[in-house]
Symmetry: C2
């Protein structure tokens, strides 16, 4: 028989679900152009900021550095971005859109906006506003100090026989 149920709803899981419920309306548009979610996030961000360094992309697009290395390599290989070492600091890199990807964004962007409008209408603009409001609150508050509970001694559950 199962042990006692967890008393709290799974909030992170709820975010995952909500995100998927929204994204499923955009995914077909993005994949139609042969892009992945992450590639589109990067293109969109680059279009807005003009040029970015990898660590900035990591921060803005929520992609971890090791993942980004591969994503940028593939994007560079198919001519969606250029990578150029920064003259003053040979460690750093500058990533830019290509003429080709600028055209792509110009064609894809309006479709995303149009789909947004449809969704906004379906959900009701007030709900959208409330969402933005609460999410901003959440992300702002999270910066504050949240203590971490104490963890018990480590047990290697994976290799226990019992």
């Amino acid at each position: 028989m199962p042990s006692k149920k967890l008393a709290y709803r799974n909030l992170p899981h709820l975010f995952l679900k909500a995100r998927e419920e929204l994204l499923c309306h955009f995914r077909p548009i993005i994949t139609h152009f042969g892009l992945t979610e992450q590639q589109w996030r990067i293109l969109r961000t680059l279009d807005e900021k003009n040029e970015l360094e990898p660590r900035e992309i990591c921060e803005l697009c929520h992609i971890l550095s090791p993942s980004l290395t591969g994503v940028l390599s593939r994007m560079e290989a198919i001519g969606l971005v250029t990578r150029q070492r920064m003259p003053g600091d040979q460690r750093r890199v500058i990533v830019r859109l290509t003429p080709k990807s600028e055209k792509l964004v110009a064609e894809l962007g309006p479709l995303i906006v149009a789909q947004y409008k449809i969704i906004e209408q379906a959900l009701g603009p007030e709900l959208i506003k409330q969402l933005y409001d609460i999410m901003d609150q959440l992300i702002a508050t999270e910066k504050g100090p949240i203590t971490r509970i104490a963890l018990p001694e480590k047990k290697d559950w994976a290799n226990m026989t019992d």
Copy 2:
């Protein structure tokens, strides 16, 4: 120069960010026990439902079927779940916790709850309530008909020279 900026904020991306802001407080607990996020989601759900079929786990835990195959294989290999073919229908499978994983949930679950309480206090219980409320609204509304915009003819951007 960049084309015109997209007029809408990226709502799915906001969910991604919010989820991460929350999850980062739970991840250390989960990994401390040698589990992955998905493994814990499955253990937690199994603990609540007692036994589940793979497609039910996919639905409840938001894991796609091909991913689940691997996750369950690994979990079975280290003795966290059992998989048993259903007698009446040889296509179907029943997944259950083991005594070992029941103990694990009994030890891990309360820690998750405790961390939840800390976060709830930090964010303020009203904010949490509003969050649940809006998320439920969102997910409920999403079931309604949201039309998909028409897509232009397919272009193979990846293999274009220009």
